[in-house]
Symmetry: none
Subunit: 230 residues, 4 copies
């Protein structure tokens, strides 16, 4: 799991010889990386600036992550807060609107700048896009199963309904509007819900979307190499 660990990973940490790594460093480094990312974008994340602000040295950074790409990806996976409260307004339309509003707010706050920064990085370095896909935590763009099940229970959706339309569309549309600075106000959100999301969800008989979902949070049983926990 760790990026540089010797393969077997013994059950007990096995007390490797030599001075142990300061566990606080990784945290400090990732936090600094996140700030820089949010403040001024991907290009402002320079390894020297990160090291300086984290109060450590470049070598210490490179010892943990092989390059800038990996550092940034790890930083993104690192950022998390308390899980948002459940949404339950009593109607599917209300739930969808609430979820969209929450996402829109997130994009409007500083984390939104982070999304920009990430996409910037992805534009510069395609491999970073890959990493992001595996690494990035969820952005709120998924339709929670509970919401879906409640809607089915209320008879608002057919039993065959899946969350696909929401997952794919809501995140994309809002992120892109955030990027272009287009307004994301309530009238717009209602329009999106009424004209796109509800019809699409109601259509129902969509099988599981082929391929991985956009912005799929890393699930616990993911086997992909993980650069986020050095």
């Amino acid at each position: 799991m760790s990026y540089r660990n010797p393969p077997p990973r013994p059950a007990q940490p096995a007390a490797r010889p030599g001075r142990p790594r300061d566990p606080g460093k990784a945290d400090a480094i990732l936090s600094v990386t996140l700030s820089l990312l949010a403040e001024a974008g991907y290009d402002a994340v320079s390894m020297e600036r990160v090291a300086a602000r984290a109060g450590t040295s470049k070598a210490t950074v490179y010892r943990r992550w092989p390059d800038k790409r990996a550092l940034v990806a790890a930083a993104i996976g690192h950022q998390q807060g308390p899980p948002p409260p459940d949404v339950d307004t009593g109607s599917l339309r209300g739930d969808l609107l609430a979820l969209c509003r929450r996402l829109a707010q997130m994009l409007g706050r500083s984390e939104g700048r982070l999304v920009v920064a990430l996409l910037q990085g992805a534009a510069r370095d395609p491999a970073l896009g890959d990493l992001m896909e595996r690494t990035a935590g969820h952005t709120g763009a998924r339709l929670p199963d509970v919401v879906l099940r409640r809607a089915v229970a209320r008879g608002e959706l057919p039993a065959t309904a899946t969350s696909y339309a929401f997952d794919e569309v809501a995140g994309s549309a809002l992120v892109l509007r955030a990027l272009t600075g287009a307004p994301v106000d309530d009238p717009y959100l209602e329009h999106l819900v009424d004209a796109v999301l509800l019809p699409a969800l109601a259509h129902g008989d969509a099988g599981p979307p082929p391929g991985p979902a956009l912005f799929a949070g890393a699930t616990a049983d993911d086997d992909a190499p993980d650069t986020t926990t050095p």
Copy 2:
């Protein structure tokens, strides 16, 4: 619109004093930029390499575009061929798939890497939004009216149908997938069309979307500085 002599804005370009720019240079430079972009990505576009391969000097490049970002953006806007042929496969589903494929292809070519740069810039400079409009518009991000009218005529859509769902969703979803490197293959496209686009379009009674359309940049008589036509 013109970057250099806004005040009187003469009908004829008014023959600025001094030696006129060699019109071939800009072309050569942009072409080289596009090749490098396609061959090896954004970071492979170095101003010196561009100048060298274009058979000119760095100064000549910088005289036209203030920095690398602007050069690359201009190069993207530069690349165009004959307007793509109308889409008419005989069915709405076929038409939608064709349009999505065309857009996906465009984004799959390395230019996709740069869409984000444009999007970012668009927040600051409306003229870039304009550029996106023209570029994306020509490549399938907009549902052509003809296609819509034919579908209505065939009875596949209600008369009240609008192009909104396609305009908003298709571009966003594909651009974002391109940016993160997620696969955009035919199964995915069919799924998108069947599970989102067709249901949403069929829903029909969507009025015009409130607020400005995505990618609807400045209008032609806007005086904003234009870095795309040096």
Copy 3:
């Protein structure tokens, strides 16, 4: 004499066809060059700055002088003021002191900066040294003949005395002190006069110094190509 004249040099200027050169330009250009030289040194003299400040174009400058070197050399020869008043204090020592004080003052004023600038240029480009030697007007470093003759008449110097010692030594010593910022005050000047100049002048039987004198003003019968009167 003229740098670009056809060889024979006809008695009448021969009225070349075409628009004649604006005689004011050369003056303006040279003046600007001198200011820049004095203000900020040789490297601050850029052809574009000169042209801009002189209210002309680079082409007009290059039409008159082939390159920066020549322009600077010409500018130096151009600078002149009213001839300084004669020195006559009644004694050789007094005269020498007065002359030294005058020179020291000149070097301390802005013209002094010019001397620095020149030497800067000479260090960068040996050919400029050559040009300076032929071009540069006198800097006050020569011992006027009248002063010498009066001293001989008063019996303070032998009839065989020449101005050599003064010409060679006074200028060199003071210029160098100016360059290093060493103080050039009255005690120092008296010491120089008493300990070096008077003994050397009194020695007397020095023939004419071999080779051209340092800082010798261009004499009328000089055959060297002259870049100062374009």
Copy 4:
């Protein structure tokens, strides 16, 4: 004296952390600089050429000297051989001539082109004056005491004679001639010795010159930044 850690100034260099500078690099760089200087003059010293020929990188050069000027100045100070042998020709005149010839030779080599840069710098940075002192002092600009004493012993000079006239005059005159490119050949040197130096030295009763001696720069314990010993 050290440029980087003035505050505590430990007796032993104190083993700064981090990889120590490769001591061979500075040497290689300075040697290359000197060659370029000698081969083709100041303008031929380009930082990239220096780095290339020294087998290093521009960054390594700039890490040691802040700019081209400083590099060149340091290179001059760097060039030294074994201390020149004592001068003893048997006569004062012969000794003076030998000393002048040695100085003229030094100035005639391309290093002379740069003396002016040093002189200029000396006005701003006393440490450079110091450097001049050592450099020029070793090459003949000072009249060695031995020579003076021998001349007094031979009866060629009065016991009151001092080295002042030589120190002040020889250096100045020769440096300035070198700068302007005036010829410094044997006839000229003999003339200088016979017409100026010998009479002035013979005059004798010159006390020590008031004010600081020319080229007497900062003393060794001066805290001024020192750009010559990176």
